[in-house]
């Protein structure tokens, strides 16, 4: 099979690409560290300067790991939604999941002042933010699902997503009107997206959430393949549709909810990456798509992170701006290039 050979080559290239990007992301940054010293620090050795070691272990390594988690999680969540909604434009940001998560976080960060102090401490802890953001995205996803049952029109679902986006923006502006400058700053920084703010504890929480999401996605591979023929065919082939849909929805919500909580609403990765995977692997088989989306997601996110670091310069761009600048043209290019947009 020619396809099999091509897929193997692609996967080898992608694995090498991932390794390369991972080291590039650790080696590059506003402080120049020689490559040899990077390896020494990573393998547990003593670097020439202790600051270099500190930067690598406590700043760059967690950031690179976060980039991989965010990239894979968002891309897989986009892949699941594109198949579930039979819509190539579905993704965590387009469907308003990120908006839902933002709303949850906005309530927690901006609204914490209204709570008694002991509750606001709990709410503002990383667990509280993750919970709020996951709940927010689950809420939107159920809303989207309810609408999709009523209307059976995929266009309507996208419009609901857009509407929810503007709804969130206005609620956030109402909340920000009543909140302090400090709270507002915290929320604004969160909403710009940031991969570098995570402590090792946070990374463990994020890894667990993304891990659960990915495991549920792997469990859904067979259902997703059945859903390629639409809901009714899938049912006729023995799929327990309600259960499968619930698992897929829970997986996407926990992925995009947890990621949005820690890294902010990162745009365009969720919608663009699955298409790049589908285009290069020329398949709809979710076993292959799952792994290729996983690789592409992490590689592209690491790349965006490197760009946002602006190696050699003293400034850092917000990650959300970088993913949008790279992602939006990719989506447009895909739409224009492919008449039959799968």
């Amino acid at each position: 099979m020619a396809n099999k050979k091509r897929n193997t080559i692609l996967f080898v290239v992608l694995s090498l690409g991932l390794l390369l990007m991972f080291f590039a992301s650790i080696s590059l940054g506003s402080v120049t560290i020689p490559l040899k010293e990077v390896f020494t620090s990573l393998t547990g050795g003593q670097a020439t300067k202790s600051t270099w070691e500190y930067i690598i272990i406590n700043y760059r390594l967690p950031k690179a790991i976060t980039a991989v988690l965010v990239g894979t999680g968002l891309s897989i969540s986009g892949l699941l939604m594109q198949t579930l909604f039979r819509n190539p434009l579905a993704g965590p940001d387009v469907l308003g999941l990120s908006s839902g998560a933002s709303l949850g976080v906005a309530f927690v960060i901006l609204g914490a002042g209204f709570l008694p102090s002991f509750l606001s401490i709990i709410a503002l802890s990383s667990y509280g933010i993750v919970l709020a953001s996951t709940l927010g995205s689950i809420l939107v996803l159920f809303l989207v699902l309810w609408v999709s049952q009523k209307l059976r029109d995929t266009m309507a679902i996208l419009i609901i997503g857009l509407m929810f986006g503007s709804f969130t923006t206005s609620i956030v502006s109402v909340l920000s009107y009543f909140s302090t400058a400090e709270q507002l700053q915290k929320f604004t920084f969160w909403s710009m997206g940031n991969l570098g703010n995570l402590s090792w504890t946070n990374i463990v929480i994020l890894t667990v959430c993304v891990g659960i999401g990915l495991l549920l996605s792997v469990k859904s591979i067979k259902s997703l393949n059945a859903l390629l023929l639409g809901e009714n065919y899938a049912k006729s082939m023995g799929l327990n549709f309600k259960q499968a849909r619930l698992i897929i929805i829970f997986a996407t919500s926990i992925l995009s909810g947890a990621i949005t909580a820690f890294a902010g609403p990162v745009a365009f990765i969720g919608i663009a990456v699955p298409h790049i995977a589908k285009l290069t692997f020329q398949t709809s088989n979710h076993t292959i798509l799952f792994w290729s989306t996983l690789f592409y997601g992490s590689i592209i996110m690491l790349f965006c992170d490197i760009v946002s670091q602006m190696p050699g310069f003293d400034v850092t761009l917000p990650i959300n701006a970088v993913t949008s600048i790279i992602g939006a043209p990719v989506v447009i290019w895909l739409l224009v290039r492919k008449r039959n947009f799968q």
Binding site: R86, P88, V218, K219, I221, K222, N225, A226, L228, L229, G230, N232, Y233, K235, S236, M237, G238, L239, N240, K278, Q282, T283, S284, N285, T287, N340, F341, Q342
Partner: protein
């Protein structure tokens, strides 16, 4: 001798699906809408059975009810002597496969992959195809004469070919009963005839029972073993020649301009 043969034949013609005193229709807030009452149909193996009736008469409701998608108002549907409502989704998928009218969602599926999805009721939790599954898929492709299309994408082929692919998928599902909803719509005469002949051939070669709804009554009269005819008054199941001699066809359409010519076996517009 001839009696023995007949007994043998009747044993071979096993009933796959039967209905007993089945009432079909809808329940809504406004009340109950009954579409047909007291149905006692039987679908036997090796038979090509067509379901005919005017638009809006309730063909889809009947199909939805006997495939277990919709609950009957009363009465029962038995698939292999077991009540269809007692089937688990997976078990049902191993006994009944469908070919639907709905458009397929956009995807990159190749013809082979699409047909292979029919093996889902038998594959493991990630859907890996065993060598046995691949044999079944290739058999299904060969039976529908689309082996040469296997590598094409499903959106690259014609409507007639796609219909064959969908039938092939149902064959790969390896069920004793296949139900198709208006498979001949959108096809020209040539492809309609070839599809009818294909279905006929499949029932003869595989001993499966195939039931499908259609508006191509002329072809159905010529090629089906039995017909289920729906009119506002009743639903009858019989062989086409009996339906003609009993004059059932003149009740099919309530229009003075459409007359059934019993000798030619077709409808004439006056």
């Amino acid at each position: 001798m001839s009696q023995q043969l007949r007994i043998l034949a009747s044993l071979k013609m096993k009933n796959i699906l039967t209905t007993s005193n089945l009432n079909i229709g809808y329940k809504s807030k406004k009340g109950v809408t009954t579409i047909a009452e007291n149905l006692n149909l039987s679908l036997a193996s090796g038979k090509l059975i067509t379901l005919i009736g005017a638009n809006g008469i309730g063909k889809s409701t009947l199909l939805r009810t006997i495939t277990g998608i919709q609950k009957p108002l009363s009465g029962n549907v038995y698939l292999n002597e077991k009540n269809i409502s007692a089937y688990k989704p997976l078990e049902l998928a191993q006994n009944l496969s469908l070919v639907l009218t709905e458009k397929l969602p956009p995807s990159n599926l190749s013809v082979f992959e699409l047909v292979a999805l029919g093996r889902q009721p038998y594959t493991n939790w990630v859907g890996t195809l065993t060598p046995e599954d691949i044999v079944k898929v290739n058999e299904a492709l060969a039976l529908t004469q689309i082996t040469h299309l296997a590598k094409k994408r499903h959106f690259e082929i014609s409507d007639g070919q796609l219909q064959k692919v969908l039938i092939s998928r149902a064959l790969a599902q390896d069920t004793p009963l296949i139900i198709l909803d208006e498979p001949t719509t959108h096809l020209d005469l040539l492809h309609k005839v070839s599809l009818f002949k294909l279905l006929k051939k499949l029932t003869q070669e595989t001993e499966k029972c195939i039931l499908f709804s259609t508006h191509d009554i002329d072809l159905a009269i010529q090629l089906s073993d039995e017909m289920i005819m729906m009119t506002p008054e009743n639903i009858v199941q019989d062989e086409p020649c009996n339906l003609i001699s009993n004059g059932n066809f003149s009740n099919l359409f309530k229009d003075e301009h459409i007359i059934f010519d019993a000798e030619k076996g077709k409808f004439i517009v006056t």
